[in-house]
Symmetry: C2
């Protein structure tokens, strides 16, 4: 979208939201769902129809509790505050955004108040992770917080030279490389396209209409955004076509979606096995930059661990700490134990505690992300994605003993086949917890992720 | 859109149509419009509010007459027959499409039957040219038909060598040339983007969110699709922003829209004045192909008149005859004086009569256009666009005596300024006829177009 389209787009969004709200809370839908209740009870729990009826009942029940006026205030608050955030970040001036955040927190308190929940944050979290409770997230994050800072300290002491990733990278060979990598995902011909975007994203208009975006950074080697978005895209591409044009034809939750992008960006995309296959192509396309660089040095560079200010460029070991910090601040804001005015100081203090990083200004601190303009409760998904990605990988690895050997041949088919069968095809038929249970046989578990990071840090140490 | 997205997109379209239908025929909208009647009568006829109320009353009144079931049958007929047309054209097999066309004609007869109209074709035409009558179109087309064949015969006797436009054309210099040409239209920064499409089109999501598409033909010089689409795009870009997010924020009619694309593609885009400015850039970017070709030869080549089989590649002199043929066949099908089974023969006969062209097969004849899958009544717009484009040009020329001199400097600002003030800003506030009257002070008039073509043919003769 051209920049100038933003204001009208916000209105389009509000219109569609309001049409959806109207349908969801309509008496007619209520009557139909009431009529379908005995039918649902007669069906197998796993049948598409039963899942669809359950889902609609659940979504309608939630929507009925939210006054239309509050819905509208939340939508307008988001579109109103976004340009203010852009300006606040540009000028590193938190005070500009402060009143909007205060209003946003207040609206979210009222939103949480619409629901019978043990913790007000549960109401926000449930919009992104259907069925998941704040206490479950807290338990996972506490475990991570207990181990990650020490792991980061060890790993960052290794002093890896990643400057070999800097340089000048022409667009055309980057396109060729990305095409070769994405070509391994198994997107069906004629059902997807790739374009360039400033902030890459993936979107699916149908399982057979997948839109990927990427970028071609001119001064630093990176295919990781492309691998990340391909992970999101291949997930929705492989939802059971029988769910097409139903509200179940999306990923199960934000966290599970993120687990797919992380799995391909990090577990596959920063593995030695994958680059054994892919690195010769990098060397061929960028001979000047990498012709004389051994695979092992390249692999070490793309896995360098260094605490830093900015979430979106953080490595996979420090990343979750950026999220835990945001989760804690969100909860305190919502509970009223932290005032918006005190947010920058709290941010800076926690960055020092968790990552040992001094924040020089709010633009690179509390103002770095746009999320708080419109979304509270979505940050946990990013760290849960890390955790879940390794749970899935371990499970696939147990089922497919030759997984690594196939990766070394650039063959993703065993992995994508496993993910399709155990996760992707399900779409949003089940809650986040049910979906995970079906795929890996257990609930959220941070241990595989910690084991993975420990192993990686040990292997990369000189 | 990737090819694979078509089937689901058809359902999306049908859903949006049905939501729109529901809003238009709702009692609530009826009550609101009834309530607003005295307000409308108190307003100036030209005020935005009065125009909006009039427009909604008009559209609602039409929509109320069409049974929801017929609406749906028309929508599904279109999406159902499109892939059949693709296959029928590929195999040049009219019989494949025949039953779908028969059903389509029958549905359109029923549609026309919903309205009190003098001529059943009036009902179809009105959807594309609000307020225009078939008899008015017929009068214009009869006049064109009386003169064009003779003019085509004269012009095509000139035996212009346009093979100098063939060759090998790299994408990058084409991009540079198109960027230079489109840069003269005055699109506001940050409000538009350009992408590549197989069949170029222009779309506006808002006056500040304009999407242009183009192509870069590898084997023949052409900037005409880009100029054509830029004409469509700049029109909607300049609608009064006060009309944003109302149904008036679109072009006045299909024919008036087409007049803008034709004006920039042909009157400007094939004029000697424009190429006096632009041709040196062509010679610089494509030195090998055009370095030794004088401007006059290039100009003659891009204006070559030759009767041919295919509408979309027809020159501006023969073009309208392709349309008149379709208009006549559509009317006869609707009236029942021509059976669908006899359509290919009727097509071929008229191609011989009007253009002196023998049709070798249906793929290059009656099956060449997709329109009859979903649209009857839109073809006249293409020829009306030619007619109107010259009416507007003559009027602008009368008001702006230095128009040609400015074109020779690549300066489109006087022309675009005039069009904005006299046409573009109005959007769909008025009917097609009212809009034309306001812009040029008269109704449809084929004489300026015929004078323009005669002048051009005379000037290009050796």
């Amino acid at each position: 979208m051209p920049e100038g389209g933003g204001a009208v787009r916000a209105h389009h969004h509000a219109t569609v939201s309001s049409v959806m709200h109207g349908v969801l809370v309509s008496d007619r839908l209520g009557e139909l769902l009431e009529e379908l209740r005995p039918f649902e009870e007669s069906l197998d729990y796993d049948s598409n129809e039963a899942c669809l009826i359950r889902h609609l009942c659940r979504v309608r029940e939630k929507e009925m509790r939210v006054p239309a006026q509050l819905r509208q205030a939340l939508a307008f608050g988001a579109s109103e505050s976004y340009p203010v955030w852009v300006e606040a970040r540009r000028t590193s001036n938190f005070d500009l955004l402060r009143p909007y955040l205060e209003r946003g927190v207040e609206l979210r308190r009222r939103y949480a108040g619409c629901f019978d929940v043990a913790d007000p944050y549960d109401a926000l979290l449930d919009d992104f992770e259907p069925g998941l409770k704040t206490a479950e997230v807290e338990a996972v994050f506490d475990r991570l917080k207990g181990e990650l800072p020490q792991l980061v300290a060890e790993a960052s002491a290794a002093l890896v030279d990643d400057s070999l990733l800097d340089g000048s990278f022409a667009v055309e060979p980057q396109q060729q490389l990305q095409a070769a990598l994405l070509g391994r995902f198994g997107f069906r011909e004629g059902t997807w396209r790739i374009d360039v975007a400033l902030h890459p994203f993936a979107a699916s208009l149908a399982t057979s209409d997948i839109r990927l975006t990427t970028h071609y950074p001119p001064n630093r080697f990176s295919v990781f955004a492309a691998m990340h978005e391909a992970g999101h895209a291949i997930y929705e591409h492989n939802i059971d076509p029988a769910l097409e044009r139903t509200p179940l034809c999306v990923g199960a939750s934000a966290g599970i979606h993120e687990s797919q992008s992380r799995l391909f960006e990090n577990i596959v995309g920063r593995s030695l096995a994958w680059w054994r296959w892919a690195y010769p192509q990098v060397q061929r396309l960028f001979t000047e930059q990498f012709g004389a660089v051994p695979l092992e040095d390249f692999h070490r560079a793309i896995n360098n661990v260094q605490p830093s200010l900015i979430r979106i460029t953080a490595d996979e070991t420090t990343y979750s700490l950026h999220i835990i910090l945001r989760f804690e601040l969100e909860r305190e804001l919502l509970a009223g134990t932290l005032a918006v005015a005190d947010l920058p100081a709290a941010w800076n203090e926690r960055m020092r505690d968790y990552l040992g990083v001094e924040v020089p200004d709010d633009a690179d601190g509390v103002l770095q992300d746009p999320h708080w303009c419109g979304e509270f409760g979505t940050f946990p998904a990013y760290a849960l994605g890390n955790v879940i990605s390794v749970q899935l990988w371990d499970r696939a690895f147990a089922d497919l003993p030759d997984l690594e050997a196939r990766l070394e041949e650039g063959d993703l088919a065993p992995l994508t086949g496993w993910l399709r069968d155990h996760l992707w095809r399900l779409g949003r038929k089940f809650t986040a917890g049910e979906t995970l249970e079906r795929a890996v046989g257990s609930g959220l578990d941070p241990e595989p992720y910690l084991r993975y990071l420990r192993g990686k840090v040990a292997a990369l140490s000189p």
